[in-house]
Symmetry: D4
Subunit: 163 residues, 8 copies
Amino acid sequence: MKKVKILMGSDSDWSVMQEAEKILREFQIPVDAEIASAHRSPERVLKICQNLENEGYGVVICGAGMAAHLAGVVAAHTDLPVIGVPLDGSSLQGLDALLATVQMPPGIPVATMAVGKAGARNAGVLAAKIFSVGDEDLRNRLKQFRKDLALEVEQKNKKLFQP
Amino acid sequence: MKKVKILMGSDSDWSVMQEAEKILREFQIPVDAEIASAHRSPERVLKICQNLENEGYGVVICGAGMAAHLAGVVAAHTDLPVIGVPLDGSSLQGLDALLATVQMPPGIPVATMAVGKAGARNAGVLAAKIFSVGDEDLRNRLKQFRKDLALEVEQKNKKLFQP
Amino acid sequence: MKKVKILMGSDSDWSVMQEAEKILREFQIPVDAEIASAHRSPERVLKICQNLENEGYGVVICGAGMAAHLAGVVAAHTDLPVIGVPLDGSSLQGLDALLATVQMPPGIPVATMAVGKAGARNAGVLAAKIFSVGDEDLRNRLKQFRKDLALEVEQKNKKLFQP
Amino acid sequence: MKKVKILMGSDSDWSVMQEAEKILREFQIPVDAEIASAHRSPERVLKICQNLENEGYGVVICGAGMAAHLAGVVAAHTDLPVIGVPLDGSSLQGLDALLATVQMPPGIPVATMAVGKAGARNAGVLAAKIFSVGDEDLRNRLKQFRKDLALEVEQKNKKLFQP
Amino acid sequence: MKKVKILMGSDSDWSVMQEAEKILREFQIPVDAEIASAHRSPERVLKICQNLENEGYGVVICGAGMAAHLAGVVAAHTDLPVIGVPLDGSSLQGLDALLATVQMPPGIPVATMAVGKAGARNAGVLAAKIFSVGDEDLRNRLKQFRKDLALEVEQKNKKLFQP
Amino acid sequence: MKKVKILMGSDSDWSVMQEAEKILREFQIPVDAEIASAHRSPERVLKICQNLENEGYGVVICGAGMAAHLAGVVAAHTDLPVIGVPLDGSSLQGLDALLATVQMPPGIPVATMAVGKAGARNAGVLAAKIFSVGDEDLRNRLKQFRKDLALEVEQKNKKLFQP
Amino acid sequence: MKKVKILMGSDSDWSVMQEAEKILREFQIPVDAEIASAHRSPERVLKICQNLENEGYGVVICGAGMAAHLAGVVAAHTDLPVIGVPLDGSSLQGLDALLATVQMPPGIPVATMAVGKAGARNAGVLAAKIFSVGDEDLRNRLKQFRKDLALEVEQKNKKLFQP
Amino acid sequence: MKKVKILMGSDSDWSVMQEAEKILREFQIPVDAEIASAHRSPERVLKICQNLENEGYGVVICGAGMAAHLAGVVAAHTDLPVIGVPLDGSSLQGLDALLATVQMPPGIPVATMAVGKAGARNAGVLAAKIFSVGDEDLRNRLKQFRKDLALEVEQKNKKLFQP
């Protein structure tokens, strides 16, 4: 099975991006994370991009705040699917990161998630969905995951309204 | 090879969403499109979702404007990766569709593209990238596609500045 | 008298949506609440929608945050009036939920309230107003309610400026 | 059957607000329209409000642009349900009218629709839904209307993709 | 000398609007404040408006949050200059109140100030400026006030950078 | 009677700012206009400011687009009431000019109007209201003006709905 | 004298970015332009960046629309001052490009200009100002340029108001 | 070597603007700071501007919040490069200051940085970059600074992921 690489611009992003790692581990998808800033360590980003395919990665997840270029830069240097997680890292509350991540020009897509923790978790789920296109076993785990989400809603409902 | 399904909320969205179909045909990926509104024909959307896997689809692309729920509803009813294209269909110029598409809650991701034509074209490219995770031949065509993008930039540069 | 159903996407929304329940109880309108997520438990939402009319509900109030599809999905599956309360559930402070709730396409309206607690309370008042179209007694209670609002303003004024 | 009153701030709003009138006539609901500006003819607005109940109106639809106060002012002076349609009447493209209509304080709700024509049409549909709470025949017409919406989607799909 | 009337929608606005009262007292301009909600106590607002001129008021300052209609409603019912202070009273952080206050239609102006405390204080200063058009003594106090502002900047500079 | 000075940043603003001049002439208030850019001709702005009081001006109206500093700069250099009209002069559609005009710091107010023509016209009306504080005759003309606005609404209503 | 390099993401940007070239030629500063997309031709961008200093460039001007990463990427790969011009290239009207250009993280500044033509022209002026820090002759031309701006305002004023 | 002048509108801005001073001191560039408000002490701003060149300043950094005119006013009165730092000083979270700083009209550029501390620090870096155009030694220090940024990223990565 291919691996997922999580990249983030700063160590302070890890508390949010860890949501992606957690859910990938739940799906038993191999994953590792690195800090690499598109602006402060661009060579490092390029080097990581050049080795992604050879090292067995199948999807890249990039989390960044402010003028969040990380996902776009990675998407410009790899043919793997790139998932972008805009982070709330300025007084503009993630609107800057969202627009800088999602508004990619024709030819170089970034699969953009919601701002913050919800987006980080969904980046992991989307990576699993992408791998499941050719992996029936993973697809079945995703089916179970979706059933569990529905079950969890029912249980919360019972707890709150039928005590 | 699995197929791509393009869904859109209204026939007037086709002139934009056709960008996705065009690029998928260039990549020789089987694709077909349907109109299905999450609000006006919800049963139709459900029925399409229920048959996607059986009928050999691997990715769904959803284009919608305003309170663009189509991608979210499809993502709630299938385990396939869902790509959302927010369309500029109101005086708010696609900001409504962008936020309604991208801000998905934890568990149900929508891979959101840029608003409008650029996003529709990139939805097709992302679908190809997703299929290429398990398809080396397609990966090579994507590599060529990215080289061609770079070449095209150089050619435009020559035409404009070195006549 | 018909009943009001309050739906919300998550148990964490209850502290806000309870404002709707409280005011409905003040108006002696039968009301109950359930958790049902348009994205994580879509079948549950459909099932609730299918039974609303038979079980004697006359109005549905839906509270959701982020890409708030709950009200739109319910409006797509019932002919009852649907009231939407956008909740402040992300760094974008409810603007996402507001646009995702209010910008409905032609044919499927959602009666949208203000973001958050004010909106939840007003959802209850609007439900009462809707029932009062055919219920003179309730109309009279609404008249009294509006008089009490005015009185409350006068009392606060006295307390603050004429001690 | 009770009547619907459509109010709008300016004669130039009629081309948009007429969408509400059209759909109400389709539902055979009696409706008439008047121009009344909350800012330029406030006494006229008050007078209309005072007579609404006596003259047999059951719902008021208010369309206004810019700092759209009309719906809020009407809601402050009547106990009928008030539906607000924000209009795109300035360079800010209806965002001003949307916020000025929807962000009502606790106690005085305005059922807010989408900006512009879609919102005007939906105001008519919502008024019909409100009347249908106590009118089974109208409820049935609404059921048919919703079926027709779904049918129309299917027909457009056939026309575009199965010629 | 004419008086200034400060109106606000809720008693919770007083902590902000008091800034207007303070600066007016510094300028020795007679001022009093009242709570009057455009939505919850509209008759009270009308009654206050009808008496403003007779009771010797020359300017009205209105502070309100959310869909802030108070200033607009007052401007519709009096010929006195009306100053509007948008308040930060919702998750949208005063953008709603700003647009609802400033985007008045032709014929009925509201002199809009900044959101919150800065705006409340400036409402007092603007009222003084308005009265000073026909009052040379007040004009001189305003000149001194502006000189003091400049002096204060110099003193803060000295304190911080030349200790 | 004191005069009104209209300033604008560019000759292209005149088509909008002329609305202020027109309404002032209707009120028989002396008015003249000048082009003076806060950024391109700052000395010219200062010079105009220094002479305003001596030359008999009582109010200044400033129209500017983009980072609209003109009104703020004039307010910093005069004790006269300053009215700001934000103009729609960039792709951001006047939101830039609105925020740059209205968000003034404590001590230096700018009476901000709506973006564009409505705001320009209202700047003229507000100037008249300001002068009317000490001019009963002008107050009466304003009363008539407001009555005419209401009459005009009624006439438009008759023309449209009672032909 | 050092040269200025103008980079832009697409040939369609040239009509706007030419404003920068024009003003630089007026200041007799050597300048040339190239098309280089941060996303579609990233190697080309890197190569240009690596040669900038050797080839005698002193400032880089980058114009791009949507998720405008060009200036940020260039700033990450050179020590020259980088000026960014956000372009209006999507339905979001340049707000996306503005935030993606200006919100740079600590350490890697981009000197951001206004959206569109005004910004492109100002990029040229800023480049001239930067070169003038060590070039008194150029400083004098800038002084004259600023005087001419003021003169132009006066002439436009005469033409419009003193015919 | 020329000096850098840091100006800010209020003493409360110093905690943010100090970031600019710190980084300039790291680069051994002479720098001093002053408080000067474009609105409350305009003469002071003018006087500072008039002496900048004579006193050996080469760049001005201006930090201001709300309707942040300081950078624009300084740019209008000097030929030195002006760097603007928008500050988060109101409920609108710096969007007001950003637009008021960056949207300058043609002819008078302000090199705009990100909102808040990141922007203040980058203002210092940009000033260093500007001085380095004619100062190879400083250029070398900037090269080292950029290398250190990259190194710091690697070290943080090691600390977090390879303990």
